[in-house]
């Protein structure tokens, strides 16, 4: 160290710069070499892995297909799996599981049942991506046996892990998990609301009463109520119309109002029209457009003049919904007259009539 310091002290500025430069070059050369070696090693590892996978797939394909045809063949198929390739086998079967339903799926679940303990251990891995994969596998192949692991996934610090857990728990065949998933919905505030609504709607009627309760409860956060309203719309829940109409007057959140109006458009009744009509004059373009959309579905010929007038709306979306509303309310004649005139909205009327011809 001392000799290095002496050497540094004896060098001129340009010599020092040169030394630094040479050091940098050598370091970079090492980096370059490292990248090259890394790329080659990766290529080699991937090739080995691909070869192994091809070999294993070829070995397992016939026994797994045989087990699918005849469940008595399950032990024979399981016997083909070496200790060291158990996780590979689960992955192999998982690919098949995505393509089958019903009894065949249950056969595959039985087939991998002895190997899932290794996957359950991976649900505790420090890497969130590995935990996600484990939860996904257990959710597909290991429920209800591994429900404790999947339920624990709902509490996982990674939002992705908890979402994957929720998706596998929120299924019609496991109604017992529905209330638990519902309790964890606040974890998914950042996710796309329609995506969440779709997940909840797929649970089926089992979830409807919880969704209704949440929607009716003003203490529920607005974003969650909007998700619940959307899910009820997707389920076409016949009771939800009254709830939506009751919730509208006290609501200021634009997303919630829009969701409620969409729900009314889907399951509302003529008695809900007055409250919708009020919102057709809203200063908020999105609310106005949704209200016109709902009005078109629920109103009768009495509202056609209002809807025709709304075709003049400054917002093209509101105008489009109004035109569609005219059609839904039975105003084809009015639209046809407009389409054939030189009215500024002749094209809009023509388009909406054309859409009707298509549907």
């Amino acid at each position: 160290m001392a000799s290095l310091r002496r050497l540094a002290g004896s060098l001129t500025v340009s010599e020092t710069a040169l030394m630094v430069l040479v050091a940098v070059i050598l370091a970079l050369f090492a980096v370059t070499l490292a990248f090259s070696v890394y790329a080659v090693l990766l290529r080699s590892r991937h090739r080995r892995r691909d070869r192994l996978w091809e070999e294993l797939s070829a070995r397992w394909e016939a026994p797994v297909l045989a087990a699918l045809v005849d469940a008595d063949q399950i032990p024979a198929a399981q016997a083909c799996v070496d200790e060291e390739h158990r996780l590979h086998f689960v992955r192999f079967v998982l690919e098949y599981t995505r393509r089958v339903r019903g009894e065949e799926r249950r056969t595959l679940q039985k087939l991998v049942a002895p190997f899932l303990d290794g996957i359950a251990a991976r649900a505790q891995d420090r890497r969130s991506e590995v935990r996600t994969r484990a939860i996904q596998t257990l959710g597909t192949l290991g429920l209800p046996k591994y429900s404790a692991e999947v339920l624990r996934g709902l509490e996982d610090p990674s939002p992705l892990v908890s979402m994957v857990a929720a998706r596998y728990l929120a299924r019609p065949e496991f109604p017992e998990f529905t209330p638990i998933v519902m309790k964890h919905l606040d974890r998914f505030e950042g996710w796309n609301p329609r995506f969440l609504a779709s997940m909840l709607a797929k649970i089926g009627p089992e979830a409807s009463s919880t969704l209704r309760d949440g929607l009716a409860d003003e203490a529920t956060p607005s974003w969650l109520r909007a998700v619940q309203a959307e899910a009820l719309r997707m389920q076409l829940d016949p009771v939800a119309g009254d709830l939506a109409a009751a919730a509208l007057p006290g609501t200021e959140d634009r997303d919630l109002i829009s969701a409620l109006l969409r729900l009314l458009a889907a399951v509302g009744r003529p008695t809900h029209v007055p409250i919708i009509r009020e919102l057709c004059g809203s200063s908020d373009i999105i609310v106005r457009a949704q209200a016109l959309h709902a009005l078109g579905f629920l109103s009768n010929a009495d509202d056609i003049p209002l809807l025709v007038a709304a075709m003049d709306d400054e917002s093209p979306w509101a105008a489009l919904h109004a035109a569609r509303g005219v059609r839904e309310a039975g105003g084809e004649r009015e639209l046809a007259e407009l389409a054939e005139s030189d009215h500024p909205h002749a094209r809009l009327a023509g388009q909406v009539l054309f859409e009707e011809g298509e549907s």
Binding site: L18, F35, M163, N192, P316
Partner: protein
């Protein structure tokens, strides 16, 4: 006087040296971030069944807006490819931007188009629309036939007719992979504040294309195209992935990016007075959201792929790079308010200055550096060990960056399966430093000068076109 001149030259040489080090250090930093991000991404993709995620849940409808100008050689094949995308609900709007060739006629014949009615839902300025056509065979395929106004103008026209919450801006001659939409829409599902996401562009030259799909990935036979393969790997896997990891994405390729329609419309749509409308839009979206307190995220997703045909001649490549540089210059100078401005977050404090000083001014410094070095050497003023060390350092540094991109490709997607491809990429990583890199710097310098002079226009681009059945593309 002479001594002062040589002192200035010497100082300048040191500035160039510093520039090289900072530039490459910047690249290396983004590569390091990209490395971690890609590794996580690859693991994450293994843990998600995307098709199941999208098809079993609500997938937002998307409108693909494909501006087409004189694309008669490729448009039919490209549209066919778009029609085979795996996505639950999407519209295709091909916007014919006043083509002088038979683009509309070919599309009409191939897809049985007829005049239809479609009312605009936005009022972004664009050249007059002549007619709206729709396919009898594929009801989700529309053609907006309009007067010529440029790519941004065509995108605005498409946006005016877009009726879905998301739209995908693309080139009519790109081939989008079947699963690309499913992959690129993921950030919009996971984070409701996502307003834009960009995908990866790869070079289709040399690849085998069948039924509008790239079925066999190969390195191009043309040397210039090969060099661009490496460039694209570096730009997308090292560069954009790294910027995404830093949450400071400033560029989404105009050939494949997806956006929230209402945010783009509210921000004013595409700027028609720049040739870099793709970058300008992303920079403006940062400004718009920050200035209006709108929570937002802009993502780069590394595996939704669009394949594009790259130039194979120096003349066409030069015009392309000239235009890219003008676009960069126009986008950055227009939004100079963002420079080092913490109000614009990392985009303003890190990404903007990086692009301004290193990407925009870089070619000027680099080329002047070559001149200054040459003058110093010719005048016998150079210290040879220093010059040799510097030049070899620059080459090794350039090589290291390119090799890091190749390693990232190996780590993640491995699209070039042959060992010979890998070896070619290694060789190119070193070869590109001798001539190609300097040529690119020269084109970019010309682009900067053109931008300062206010030159507009795209310049003539020639396409060889995709062939229909399993034959090679443009080689």
């Amino acid at each position: 006087m002479t001594e002062i001149f040589w002192s200035v030259i010497q100082v300048f040489n040191y500035i160039v040296l510093a520039y090289f080090i900072v530039l490459h250090a910047g690249y290396l930093v983004t590569s390091v971030f990209a490395f971690g991000a890609l590794k996580r991404y690859a693991l994450r993709m293994k843990s998600l069944d995307l098709t199941d995620l999208i098809t079993s849940a609500w997938a937002p409808p998307i409108t693909l807006i494909a501006p087409a100008y004189n694309e008669e050689t490729t448009c039919v094949e490209s549209v066919r490819s778009l029609l085979t995308l795996e996505y639950p609900e999407y519209d295709i709007l091909v916007v014919n931007d006043g083509s002088k060739d038979g683009t509309v006629e070919r599309l009409t014949k191939a897809f049985n188009l007829y005049p239809a009615s479609r009312v605009p839902t936005a009022e972004l300025g664009s050249a007059d629309v002549r007619q709206v056509l729709r396919s009898r065979r594929h009801p989700n395929l529309w053609v907006i036939d309009k007067e010529n106004g440029g790519k941004a103008d065509a995108l605005n026209a498409g946006l005016n007719f877009c009726q879905t919450p998301l739209f995908c801006a693309m080139d009519a001659d790109s081939l989008i992979e079947p699963e690309a939409l499913i992959r690129i829409v993921r950030p919009f599902l996971e984070d409701a504040t996502t307003i834009a996401a960009g995908g990866v562009l790869r070079i289709a030259n040399g690849c085998v294309v069948s039924q509008g799909r790239v079925v066999d990935v190969r390195m191009p036979k043309n040397f210039l195209a090969r060099l661009q393969v490496l460039e694209y790997l570096r730009a997308f896997l090292s560069g954009r992935m790294g910027w995404d990891a830093l949450d400071a994405t400033l560029v989404i390729s105009g050939a494949f990016g997806i956006f929230k329609r209402n945010v783009v419309v509210d921000a004013g749509g595409y700027a028609t007075d720049t040739v870099g409308e793709d970058m300008e839009l992303v920079v403006r979206l940062h400004r718009y959201c920050r200035e209006n307190d709108i929570p937002y995220r802009i993502h780069f997703v590394p595996d939704p792929v669009a394949w594009t045909e790259c130039p194979e001649s120096l003349a066409v490549l030069g015009r392309q790079r000239d235009r890219w540089q003008r676009g960069l210059f126009q986008s950055l100078t227009r939004h100079r308010k963002m420079m080092f401005n913490p109000k614009y977050g990392r985009a303003g404090v890190i990404a903007y200055p990086y692009f301004f000083f290193l990407e925009m001014l870089g070619p000027v410094i680099e080329l002047l550096g070559y001149v200054s070095f040459t003058v110093t050497i010719l005048a016998g003023r150079a210290e040879w060990p220093f010059v040799i060390a510097f030049l070899s350092g620059a080459i090794i540094l350039g090589g290291a960056l390119s090799l890091s991109a190749v390693a990232l490709e190996e780590l993640s997607f491995r699209r070039y399966p042959r060992l010979s491809d890998l070896l070619q990429l290694f060789a190119l990583a070193l070869l590109e430093n001798f001539g190609y890199r300097q040529l690119c710097a020269w084109w970019r310098l010309k682009g900067t000068v053109s931008a300062i002079r206010g030159v507009q226009g795209w310049g003539h681009m020639t396409r060889k076109g995709f062939t229909v059945e399993a034959t090679e593309v443009a080689d």
